[in-house]
Symmetry: C2
Subunit: 142 residues, 2 copies
């Protein structure tokens, strides 16, 4: 059973994350190691599932602190569950924004208007009222 354990280099390679990021996540309480081999961390393979979740959540714009809170969730924490449902709803808005951006880019990449940014067919995707609604949101590295 102990032969199933992975060292940080293996986890880094399999997850695609840097070892420094794994140590950082451990310090922030997002993952934990199964123990040590000497000084070295040993990880259970299940940490890879956990990391997949973390990568997805980070990619969806969640902060480390938010992810930590969600990971600690128990069925009894009604307030946290409510916040999760709320986050899901906000993700709908984020998705809508990404779809508008995608459509705008597709248009722009095939449009002959000069300059592109003034094309009405392009601008149609970005109405000012939608921007106002979006002001507290945002995704990240694209």
């Amino acid at each position: 059973m102990s032969e199933e354990l992975l060292d940080i280099g293996e986890v880094a390679e399999r997850s695609g994350l840097a070892a420094s990021a794994l140590r950082f996540y451990e310090k922030q309480g997002l993952i934990d190691s199964a123990g040590r081999n000497g000084l070295r961390r040993s990880y259970r393979p299940g940490v890879l599932d956990r990391l997949a979740l973390i990568v997805c959540a980070r990619g969806a714009g969640f902060t480390i602190a938010e992810i930590a809170a969600f990971l600690r969730a128990t069925p009894g924490d009604l307030e946290l569950r409510a916040r999760m449902a709320d986050k899901a709803t906000r993700l709908e808005e984020d998705i809508a924004r990404l779809e508008r951006m995608r459509d705008g880019l597709r248009h722009a990449s095939a449009c002959t208007h000069e300059p592109l940014v003034e094309c009405p067919g392009f601008k149609r995707h970005f109405p000012p009222d939608a921007a106002l609604a979006a002001r507290r949101a945002g995704v990240g590295r694209g």
Copy 2:
């Protein structure tokens, strides 16, 4: 016609952005003012459309530099147009990630598994291979 011009405070209020952000965007070349009334910037109302686009793009994870490049686009810049089309494709992946996160959160907010994070129905949304594919992406403020 000159009565149509807005000062920075009005633009801030109407766009939902801070005046400091507007000055920052101007310095980065994302927007420009129509001139000055004394020392004070005057903006054309059209800047609000431009800002809507910027807010959307920022929310979709684009950096200031990327947005500046796209805003300078002309139909003749084939390489930039190719990059736009490429970005649109990547947005599809981002959208898929947000959808998985949304579904996972919806499940979690109604799930009785203890701890929630170990629920198979929840984890199903976050397969390790999807995380690997996502490694260079990410949205932002959620």
